[in-house]
Structure formats: C-alpha cells, structure tokens
Amino acid sequence: MFVSGWRRLREAGVLGINRRNAEFTLPYNPRRLLPLVDDKLLTKRLAEKAGIPVPELYAMVEIEHQVRDLHEVLSPHPDFVIKPARGSGGDGIVVITGRSRGMYRKVNGALLRRDQIEHHVSNILGGIFSLGGYPDKALMEYRVEFDPVFEAISYQGVPDIRIIVFLGVPVMAMVRLPSSASDGKANLHQGAIGAGIDMASGRTLTAVWRNEVITEHPDTGNPVSDVLIPHWPRMLEIAARCHDMTGLGYQGVDLVLDRGRGPMMLEINARPGLNIQIANRAGLLPRLRRVQEHHHLLPDLESRIAFCRAEFGVSR
C-alpha cells in the first residue's frame, strides 16, 4: 500500500517538501536574497520602486514606546490591517474593519479594546510571530476592499491569489477563500478554501476544503468553480515581474484584488507551501521540469507569460 501510494504520487508529479527544499528553494533561492522577502517592509519598498502595486503603508511601529501613539496615527483610517513584518503563514495578522465606542472591530464583528490592540502590537514587536523569535516590526496598512467577484464565494476576510513563479514563469496558481472555519484568514491549513486556477484563462477549477474536493462554498453555497478571476493577465504579469524584482528563482507571490485599485502584491514567500497542488489537483513537478527545460528560450517577461499560458492551461 505504501509503495503503491508512493508510486501514484510520483506519477501525479506531486512535489514533496524534501524535493522542494533540495531541488528548488535551496539551489534557486540564494540565502542572501531571503531578507528581501522575509521582511514585508523591505518587500513593499522594493515593489514600490519597481512599480508593482502594493497596499499603502499607514504606519509602522518599531519600538515599544510607539505603541501608545498608535491610535493617534491610525485615527484618519477607518479600517486597516495590522501585520508583523516578518510573520509567516498569516500568523499575527489582524484585520480591523471599523471602530465602535472607542473599540476596534475585527472582520468577524468582534470588538477589540485599545489595550488589546496594543498588546497584540507589543507581541509582534517581541517577535512572537517572527521566524526564529527575533524582534519584529508591526506594519499597519491599507485594508484591501476585495472585488465583488469574490463576495459570493468568501466569508469575511480577504481572498488572495497565490501564484508560484519559477525562474520568472508563473507555473501554478490558486485562489484562497476564507471560510467561517478559517476566521477570515486565507490560509488553507487554517480552514480556508483553495481553488486551483487555469493558468491560460484565469478561471477557477475545482476547489479543496480540508482535503476534500468541493464545488460550492461551505458558508455561502455559491459555486466556487469556473469563476473568472478579473485582471488575470495583469496578475500573471505582476507575479512574473516579482522574479525580476527579488531575484528569487522559486517563489510564491501573494496577490489581492482590490475593488478600486486592481491587483496588488501582498507578499512574497521564498518557501511557498505545497497545498497549491491539492487545490489544483495536479502536481507541480512536471511544470517545473518544463520550465527548467525551456527557460533559456524565454528572455523577457512577455515570452515567459506566453509560455505559461500556452503550457499550463487546462482547457485546450
């Protein structure tokens, strides 16, 4: 049973974590480049310089002393997102949608007192959410108002789009839809829904929720398959340009679709997870091998995107 399970995974071209590390992230992502993406502030600055749209930074807290001034600094902004600069896996992110009676309202409607917000920010500074527990910065930034196309298929929180980019070629993508189980977070292991995306057309394929294949959103009941992601070509372009921006060979680019501002790059992950294969019900390995074989023939952005749409589309 073991051996056959093993062989079937191999045949499906599933990329395992050992192979991802040994053959992709370790050789293609030089260690000196990792700080560029580990610190979201650096990534944001880099993207701004490269002309890649990112959520606007409202404020940043670096030292404990600044925590109390937080409310003052944020007062012009009715809604915002607090996130650790060096967080991973969505940990430590709090989305504030508004205020009421001097308190802050979270996505799920719960109210946070001012001191609770301050404590959370202090925790971020202390390094609770950062890799290795190093002291961290807390970023307060623009809260994305997601595009109405996702309204029917997400439950609180912001759905985001993850695109794996290998050597500048987008190879696989999924949209992560928050559910009631994920507390508005767009992380698959926290209970969000992952729907694979046809690279050629930008339409969602089947979706996966907690290792189960589903066709409808468990909270809203609306179909999650065959939804056209607006601005898909622009998203592919942003993702592909992130490769030129960071120099990382193998990365996961997280994008959001804002109602007014269009696609925005949220963050880049140098060790993107493998669940995207479940959402797409396809293995990454054959696609990565295709890129390895052809990338010397793909000199510029246009050719890489064209290669992606020609090779990794599902509908023919």
């Binding site: 050992n18 404590h119 294969q277």
Partner: protein, 512 residues
C-alpha cells in the same frame, strides 16, 4: 553545474566517512579483539558501605578498607559521598583504603562508599596474586603453648592441609576446649576467630592471610562480611572457609579486604555503625567491556575513551548516544514528516527520560507542560511583554518542578523526584510555542504537535537506550562517522515523506 559538483563532493565525503568508520571498526574488532557485544554470563552488583557516626566536635578520621580488583571480580564506578570530609585513597598492608578526615565535626555524620563489582566470566579470570602475610604468628608466651598443643592435636587427626584446617578450626571453635578459650578470650567475634586461626596456621608452617568479603546474593540490606583463609600449602594458596574449614572458594565470594583490621576504623567520634548493602544489577554491557578492554589491550586502551576517569566516561556514554537520537529525529522529520516543537527538543526530552524511565517521563512531562500551559494562558490575560513573560513561565516551570518533586516524595513515588532532570529552558520554550500554536491554529494542532514531540522523544529514548547500541558507540565511537554520513545523505533525500502520502492522497487518486 553547481548541484552536480556538490553532489559529487557529498558522495566522496560519504564514501570517505564510511571507509574510515568501517576501517577503524574492523581493525579494532578483528586485529585487537574489541568485543562486539558483552558475553552473556557476566554479572554485576552495586555494593554500598554506609558509615554512621556521632561526631563530638573534634577532628574525625575514618578509614574504610575498599575492595580491589581480584581474580573473578572487577571493581569500578566507585563513588564516595562524604558531606564535608576530605578524602584520600591510599594503600596500606595490601589493602586499598579510603581515608576521610575533617578538622571539626559534630552531630551525626553519614559517609557512603558505592561501587559496582562485576564478575568476570570464568574464562576471563586470572590468577590471584599472592597475599601479603605476617612472618610471625605473634603469640605471647602463654598463648604459644596453647596454640602449639592445639596444632598438635589437629595434626594427629589429619593427613594433609585439606583435612588439617577443618580439624584445627573445629577445636578452636569448641567452647569446652580450654586451649581455645585461652586463645580467643570470651565472646570472640568472627573476625577474632579468623585472626587466631590464621595465626595458628602460620605457626604450623602454613603462612595464612585472612580475606574478608561478601557472599553476593540477589540483594541484601545489611550484609555481614564473611572470612576466608588463604593458606599456603607449599605449591600455592588454597582457600578455606574460616568458619567450617571447608576448602575452596565459592564463585560468589567477593573479597573486600584482608588482614586482621576491621572494615572501618574511626578516631575522634563515637557510636559507629557500619552497614554493607548489595544489590544485583542488570549487566550494563559497557562496564564489562571497559574492564575487559583494559585487560586485553592495555596500549590501545590508553588511546580510547576507556582511559578517561569513570565519571567522564559516564558523561560520554550519554553524549555519544545523542547523535543516534538526532539521527532518529532526522528520519522522523524528513522521512516520516512528523511535526515536533523545536528541532532537537525531543532528543533533550529523551535524555531526561533516561533518568525517569519512559512511562514516568511521559507522565511527568505531560503534567508539567499542561500545568505550564495553564499558567501561560493566565499570563496571556495580563498582557506581558514577550521576554518577561518567557521568564515568568520559566520561573513557574521551576516552581512546578520543585512542587512535583516534593509531592511525589510525600506520596512515596521516587520516580517523581527525577522531574528535576527535565531541561527547564526547553520546557519553557515548548510551553510558549505550544500556547501560540494553540491560539493561532487551534488546540487540535497544538496537541498534535505536542504528541508528535513526545512520540519522537519516546522513539529517540527507546533507540538511545538499546544496550547493544550504547555499547557499540561507546566502544567504537568511529561508528558515529557512519551516522554522520547517513545524516548527510538524508540532507539530500528528496523523496516523499510518509505524511505526504496521506496529505496528497486526493491527488494520487486522480493521478491516473
């Protein structure tokens, strides 16, 4: 390309490591005869001498005669526990002895001597060296006549030494015999009888030494020393039971000290009570090998870990199995895909399990982490900053450890005392990480990761505690090069983890 070059390099290093390890290992086994495993049949005992004395505020000097290596036994892992006494070890009259001294002491003082004695297999036994015996029996004029008369009577009824000794002892132990009374006085102790018997035999032309020792049993709390006589018969030294006169030495007789002196002499204190205790222990493989190594190849021995003092050897016994535990962890994480808190935390927990035993270790660890988590959840409500909060958790962990030790001691559960051996910093970090995972990802994931850590620790413990494996890495530390090679190869293992077979099951179904 770079990956190819580094693969080749890795392959060469691995080949080199394996070659060196196998080479050294084979040389030691084949050419030098290092034992691959301990021969069965070797047995060992923990022996303990406990001296309780009442000091009177004066300088106190305590001499304890110590056992030495003998034909059938090897003494090692000696420990001296003496509160504030100074300790020197010297040799006097053919005996090793411990000399405890203190300038000023008052009240009850307790001194301990502990050692492990190992019985060598018959094949490995060597000849006993000749004992040192006094030249003169040293009888006074009055006693000399009684002694000579007693000897004459015994000689008349015996043909050789084997029959002479029992005859002599029977007369000496006969309370009705006036000559025996002259020699022994009233109420003679066993030691006194043995002493007189030895002097009688010396007077009869058979130089004799008294050997005091213990008859090793399964266990005994208050063992009494028994005396044997070593009598020269012209060809060699024969053993006789000092009580019955029977010839021969039982295999379970552990010679402790020789001569007429008592086991303990004390000056400067009163009311001395000495007790000997012994308990049979499981053969721990290593000790036997150590001693055999010393006997078999003394030169090479000097270059091995065996040449280190016993306490350092004990440290290395533990340190050398750590790589094995780490290797287990590498397999569990990269081959199986088990999630654990912290990279090497389970190995450190496994080390603590060595002291607590597995089941107790699991219970103690779980209780400690659970209580620590409760405290941590409460601290969360107080909104403390990270580092002070970690410090607070650490202090609470220390207090919990102390409390658990005290409670388990009150309940008479000695295993609970060993909770003190858990690495508290690791516990603190585990509690912190677990509480964060608990809050961020839910209780399920936190408990799953905690259980994964304990499973990894248990497996690492079980593997690290395999006696033959401990023996192998201690006798052949070069085998760790193999572990190094294996770990390096695992560093390039890019196949699936077992957990991924489950994780991506949905994919393999449609994988066509």
């Amino acid at each position: 390309m770079r990956p190819d070059a580094s693969s080749r390099q890795l392959r060469n290093i691995v080949i080199l490591l394996v070659a060196v390890a196998i080479g050294v290992f084979a040389f030691k086994v084949l050419a030098l005869g290092f034992p691959l495993r301990v021969k069965p049949g070797a047995e060992s005992w923990d022996v303990e001498a406990k001296i309780v004395l009442a000091a009177r505020g004066q300088p106190v000097k305590v001499v304890l005669r110590l056992p030495s290596d003998s034909a059938a036994f090897v003494v090692h892992d000696e420990a001296f526990i003496s509160h504030n006494f100074g300790l020197t070890i010297n040799t006097s009259g053919g005996n090793r002895q411990a000399l405890w001294s203190v300038r000023k002491a008052s009240g009850q003082q307790i001194l301990y001597y502990r050692a492990v004695v190992r019985q060598l297999p018959i094949a490995a036994s060597r000849r006993e060296p000749a004992p040192s015996v006094p030249e003169q029996p040293g009888f006074s004029e009055a006693k000399l006549a009684a002694a000579q008369s007693l000897i004459k009577a015994a000689q008349a009824r015996s043909a050789d030494l084997e029959t002479f000794v029992p005859q002599l002892l029977r007369r000496l132990h006969d309370r009705q015999d006036g000559r025996a009374r002259v020699l022994l006085g009233s109420n003679p102790t066993a030691r006194k009888r043995a002493d007189i018997a030895a002097r009688l035999l010396t007077l009869a032309g058979h130089p004799t030494a008294i050997v005091h020792g213990l008859l090793l049993k399964q266990q005994e709390r208050d063992a009494a020393p028994v005396e044997w006589l070593r009598v020269q018969d012209g060809k060699g030294w024969q053993w006789f039971n000092a009580r019955s006169g029977a010839m021969g030495q039982p295999r379970n007789f552990l010679p402790w000290w020789s001569g007429a002196d008592p086991l303990v002499t004390v000056s400067g204190a009163g009311r001395v009570k000495t007790s000997l205790a012994l308990i049979r222990t499981e053969e721990t493989a290593l000790g036997g090998a150590t001693e055999r190594g010393r006997r078999i190849a003394p030169r090479l021995f000097a270059l091995s870990l065996f040449s280190l003092p016993i306490d350092m050897q004990l440290v290395y016994r533990v340190i050398l199995v750590v790589p094995i535990g780490v290797f287990v962890l590498v397999l569990l994480r990269n081959l199986v895909g088990l999630k654990t808190f912290g990279t090497f935390m389970p190995v450190l927990i496994a080390l603590a399990f060595r002291q607590t035993e597995l089941v107790w270790g699991l219970v103690l660890f779980s209780v400690l982490v659970a209580l620590g988590l409760l405290a941590r959840f409460y601290l969360e409500r107080l909104k403390l900053l990270l580092v002070p909060r970690l410090a607070a958790v650490l202090i609470i962990v220390v207090l919990l450890m102390a409390a658990m030790s005290v409670v388990s001691h009150l309940w008479g559960l000695p295993q609970g005392l060993s909770v003190a051996l858990f690495p508290m910093v690791i516990l603190t970090m585990t509690i912190e990480r677990m509480s964060i995972v608990w809050e961020e990802r839910g209780a399920g994931e936190a408990i799953q990761e905690g259980a994964g850590s304990l499973a990894a620790a248990s497996l690492a413990y079980l593997v690290m505690n395999l006696p033959w494996l401990q023996h192998l890495v201690f006798v052949f530390p070069e085998l760790l090069l193999l572990v190094l090679a294996a770990v390096m190869l695992m560093g390039r293992y890019s196949g699936y983890r077992l957990s991924e077979l489950y994780r991506f099951k949905a994919l393999s179904k449609d994988g066509r």
